[in-house]
Amino acid sequence: MIEFHNVFFSYQPGKDILKNINLKVNKGELLAILGPNGAGKTTLIKHINGLLKPQRGYVEVLGMNTKETTVAVLARHVGFVFQNPDHQLFAETVEKEIMFALINFNFPENEIKERVEKILHELDLIEYRNRSPFMLSGGERKRVALASVLCYDPSILILDEPTIGQDYRQKLNLINLINKLNKEGKTVIIVTHDIEFVADFIPRCIIMSDGRIVADGPTEEVLTNSKLLLENSLLPPQLVEISLALNISPPTINFEKLVSFIRKIIESEE
């Protein structure tokens, strides 16, 4: 579905930001990309909807080579929600904001109305429909930005730092929504620094460092490798740290597993 083949990219000659990236994402997967600042995460995801084109190698999305396809065509299938909602909100009302992409993609008028209605309900924005997006709070603006992409129902969804500045309840709402979209068959890719969020909710995890993919696999495997994490300026999830402190082998990111381990230790002490 998404395939990177030996992709290299640089903004300035001689300073590669992406170095020989090979990556395959199947339909319906849910994965997170982690890594220190400047590792190339955002550069990588900008290749998926064609905002950036590889200088060497190639990227295929839904069978289309991104070099030969315009951003507009790719964007119809790849929804991209940017980190800062203030970089995209511009319309007078929330409703018009959501209509923007639908008009760009030439949806018929009656369908635009239906879709706006549906997404306003889904993201709990119905009471703000006639308000200016600029008068909303940070979390609400983030939701409007999300709605303005989700409305056209792209089959791939990319979220850049969706959990930044969100409280725990909003994070739970977010993961519920992501899980729901994922169950509907959408592929979801999340770029984040929020390692606890990944440990708790995301099944596949990629770690990038200095323009390379240094780890790719099930989150349970990747995030319990504390040596790998520390080498790449990432702090292991708290559950892994507890497991290591208690010499539990193999360490785990699963709360229930850890609890039963600790129970066993306590019982054996008694």
Binding site: F80, F82, D86, H87, Q88, F90, A101, N104
Partner: protein, 257 residues
């Protein structure tokens, strides 16, 4: 998004080491020259005179980028002048010559200003303005505006990316539709700038900006021998231009009738 490439980078060259006030003399004198003359050949000479400055300042590459960036405007200036002047005079040859002159005048101005800003650090510039007894608040405002140009350019790029990701296509449509497509870029850019301005104002106030009337500075600038030599050279070139070419405003091309 590299329209006017005025971003300063620390570099060690004669031009960088000059006192900003000396360079300010250069900037003012040569700006007067470009505004004073209307003959395209002389204007081109003035434009060429900034080349040695660029070479001495080791900023040729960036200088070329900012000239290239202004090409778009040059075409505009040429077309508008052409239409306007032809409308009033009806003389095709004069119209072409003046339009060319106006375009070259614009490039010369861009060239002179970009050399000044590419070789002068914002701190030095601020110092020199304060030495010229300008009020500190205005100097700081100007300085901060300059400092945020690259930030703004980067932000504009992000906004363009975000709107392209929502299906905005700049290539499609006629000229009016194309202009309309800039609304989704400009509004977020203006709003986020206003938001940032507010945050900066808060940050400055929380660090007691304006608490005392007299300010002291971490370091100050001084004029040296080489600065005075540079100023003298600038004045000589300026006077030569005026003396030699003062009669060749537009007479030579028969436009003074």
């Amino acid at each position: 998004m590299k329209v006017f490439y005025f971003e300063y980078k620390r570099e060690s060259s004669i031009i960088h080491k000059l006192d900003p006030r000396a360079k300010l003399v250069y900037l003012i004198l040569f700006t007067i020259l470009t505004v004073y003359f209307t003959n395209p050949i002389i204007l081109f000479l003035i434009f060429l005179s900034s080349l040695p400055m660029a070479i001495l300042g080791k900023i040729v590459k960036k200088w070329i980028i900012s000239i290239k960036g202004s090409l778009f405007f040059i075409v505009f200036i040429f077309i508008f002048n052409f239409i306007g002047i032809f409308w009033t005079t009806g003389n095709i040859i004069d119209t072409i010559i003046i339009s060319i002159a106006m375009a070259i005048r614009f490039v010369s101005l861009i060239s002179i200003f970009s050399i000044f800003f590419l070789s002068t650090s914002p701190e030095d510039l601020m110092q020199s303005m304060i030495k010229l007894k300008l009020p500190y608040e205005y100097v700081l405002t100007f300085n901060m505006a300059m400092r945020f140009v690259p930030t703004l350019a980067r932000e504009a790029q992000t906004i363009i990316d975000a709107q392209k990701s929502r299906g905005l296509e700049f290539e499609k449509g006629n000229i009016f539709q194309k202009v309309k497509k800039y609304i989704p870029i400009l509004i977020p850019l203006i709003i986020s700038s206003l938001r940032r301005a507010e945050i900066i104002a808060d940050a400055m106030e929380s660090r007691a900006f304006g608490a005392s009337k007299t300010r002291s500075f971490l370091y100050t600038i001084t004029m040296s021998k080489i600065d005075f030599i540079f100023i003298i050279i600038c004045i000589i070139i300026f006077t030569l231009f005026i003396l030699i070419f003062k009669d060749i405003l537009l007479h030579t091309i028969g436009l003074n009738s």
